[in-house]
Symmetry: C2
Subunit: 503 residues, 2 copies
Amino acid sequence: MIKKKNNFLRAVPLHIETGGINIAVLNAEQAKDMDVKHLDRVMVKHNSKSIICSVDITHISVKKGEVGLFVEPWEKLSLKKKGSKLRVVSVPKPLGLEFIKSKLEGEELNKDEIFTIIKDIVDDALSDVELTAFITGSYCRGLSMEETYNMTMAMVETGDTLKVGKGAVFDKHSIGGVPGNRVTMILIPIISSTGLKIPKTSSRAITSPAGTADTMEVFAPVDLSKNRIESIVKKVGGCIVWGGSFNLAPADDKIIKVEKPLSIDAEGQLLASIMAKKLSVGSNHVIIDLPIGPGTKVPTHEKAEELKEDFVTLGDKLGIKVDCIESNGSQPCGNGIGPALEARDVLKVLTNAKDAPQDLKNKSLLFAGTMLEMAGKAEKGKGSTKAAEILESGKAYEQFKRIVKAQGGNPDFKINNIKVGSYTFSVKSDTNGIVTIINNKTLSDCARAAGAPYNKGAGVFINVKLSDFVKAGDALLTVYSESRLKLERARKVLKEKKVFTIQ
Amino acid sequence: MIKKKNNFLRAVPLHIETGGINIAVLNAEQAKDMDVKHLDRVMVKHNSKSIICSVDITHISVKKGEVGLFVEPWEKLSLKKKGSKLRVVSVPKPLGLEFIKSKLEGEELNKDEIFTIIKDIVDDALSDVELTAFITGSYCRGLSMEETYNMTMAMVETGDTLKVGKGAVFDKHSIGGVPGNRVTMILIPIISSTGLKIPKTSSRAITSPAGTADTMEVFAPVDLSKNRIESIVKKVGGCIVWGGSFNLAPADDKIIKVEKPLSIDAEGQLLASIMAKKLSVGSNHVIIDLPIGPGTKVPTHEKAEELKEDFVTLGDKLGIKVDCIESNGSQPCGNGIGPALEARDVLKVLTNAKDAPQDLKNKSLLFAGTMLEMAGKAEKGKGSTKAAEILESGKAYEQFKRIVKAQGGNPDFKINNIKVGSYTFSVKSDTNGIVTIINNKTLSDCARAAGAPYNKGAGVFINVKLSDFVKAGDALLTVYSESRLKLERARKVLKEKKVFTIQ
């Protein structure tokens, strides 16, 4: 088949977003002429920019001689007006497809093969089907440490990297699955207040009620350019920004978009994904939080040990010193779930408020302490004490305000100025007993139904934790929403499944 | 998360086809309200019909309170006018997803699990990502014979079945990969002329220059209703129709749409796919053509033996008597490639023309003969002779005309009335020697570039076969096209890669 056929077509914007894949729409006649079928790929070029699109077909919306473009390709090509002349050529199958087949057949891929696949992913050259085949193939067949290393390097090299200067650069990562858990927002100020560099990029929620980036956004913008982030880190030593705001290991985001709906984590890809982001921001000292519990990615201590060993081995190959800490993932960390409620928790800890959630504080001190020891800022075994001094002296809070200001936020905040939804209801215990189970999934579903993370003030505040004794009539949780409708939806979630088991 | 939220939205047709997936487009505000993100699924209901769609998002094309529908969902819901009120509800993850994960993890699936997945596939409840995960998982982990049996039954039960009466029903299948190879169109008349029932459904080309259905369409309509096919088989004993014209094992078509771009054939799925179609049309005696050669699905004799054993075992479980015949897949069968050129080959064989392609004739007689023996219409070892008698007496040709007429075609055809493209060029040998290799893939690519299968008259006619001696200046092949542009494209294919190796 002829793979390259030149065609100049006039651009028509279609204003539809897929959220990922680039779609170009061709008239049926045009497509036949080009021997292009549904979901075949074409390269669309405009001036110096070119992208690969999957083809949908129309008899009506787009005429022969035109090409309809969804929002993603329209924006990536920086198109301004309808009718711009575009070169549209059918493209051969991506090179990486052959190696994806090798992986499906159980072969180990070499460096070149992995780089080819990752480059295809970044270039949008793989269809959803092909990308999924690579991910599930890697999941079923596994990735060797060498493959994982090559994938990490390929992810880094196909993206942008942060330049934050020489010397030790610190970082922290949680593999997730625990509601609340805003350790990062307390740890970064503690660490950076000692003069250490810690350029932290965080994620937004995909299926959870809030990511660290969503919560930080209550205080300051998190969607900053690479240059801006570099200058913030140079100025105040640390930042808490959204990792998606610049082109950081872009292959990883595309892989996650496939893994999420399948709820699988190919271990090799998990390792590569995390370490690629760390390497891309220039970190060389990393502490990883491995929460253990139902619904997290690490169900058991044994699994955590395995993962820890792999993280350390991969870190060695990459020149990154890695430490992993197992934590309790069986209940939320902190009391708030949802951006504003979590922001309040963070502020309470940073300001040493009496009602600050102690579990969040203690976990933050443990992680910050371990990092201070790693950095030689505290003797072995004295890190947490040192971290507590920094926190309790108010230095961490001052540093947090500096970071907020540097990111463009207003550092003059009070807890009561953090607005939570005005539509609320509380759930009370109908029995006396001990809290034996907290269902994290139901809590998250409830907070999302209430409007989190889109509505910053929506979420759930829980009053009790595991092993707490409660009496009939005690408040267990309060739901906050910014609309009556969503409050009712949240109520419905709690009617279907219970959060607390009290025995 | 609340999974069912009622929303009546007004339908807006968007006139875009994906070729498979159902897409519904929601306004961004609407989607936020429903807590639906890109590629989440919604169920769209209209009167008694409901379908599952993936969600794209727009800020412009569709307003809040509306739902934009691509061509596939618009047609499946039998919508007539813009503004029809539709109920749109977000739907939970499909039930089968959990079992797809089990397969990825290497578990054997039981009957219920496989039926759930196949039902999800038929209901469009799986996204491309999820469907691919199932197919690649089955490919990497393999399917047991029990799983294959259950998949076959699930494919049959989720589709329509043909009722062609009791008693022996015959069928033939080629697992493909050989250009030309129109054995079916010669075998069906031979077999049905003896009073045996053989309701044959064939495919259209996906990536090849012609499927049997495309070539048969040169003579008669092939897109017939289930009732029509049943009455044709009752009347004349056989038919050659397009399998896609009614709802025959619909899960299979959706699986093939994923396997094709990956060019994988999970063996269990290949078996289930073929046998489900046979069972759906009511066949209980099947002969399967296993072409061996580079580019076919069976590279070696050993692989063919394995596959044969599995076909026979699965057939036993299903109550279908199966025989497999290994054939030569290293070169085209017949001289024409492309619908009209293949139709001419078929007609030459059926009319016992002097220039009829002998390889196509002999292969057809072998397969028809084996089937006559299976049916007890010929003694063991005498089948081919019997088939040759039927063919050479003209009975097969008369029967072919009866079938063409029954399908609504004009049985009064002459070879010269079968139009081939008027734009042509020939390639001549520039050397003396023996033909040692024929590149089937290049031949197919060339025929497609020339316009096949869309342009019936486009294709390639080859003058020489393997082991033929050719002299410099002898014609090797002629390309036919219906447009000058496409002829040039075909010429370009042949410039890039050669079809014949002559040594």
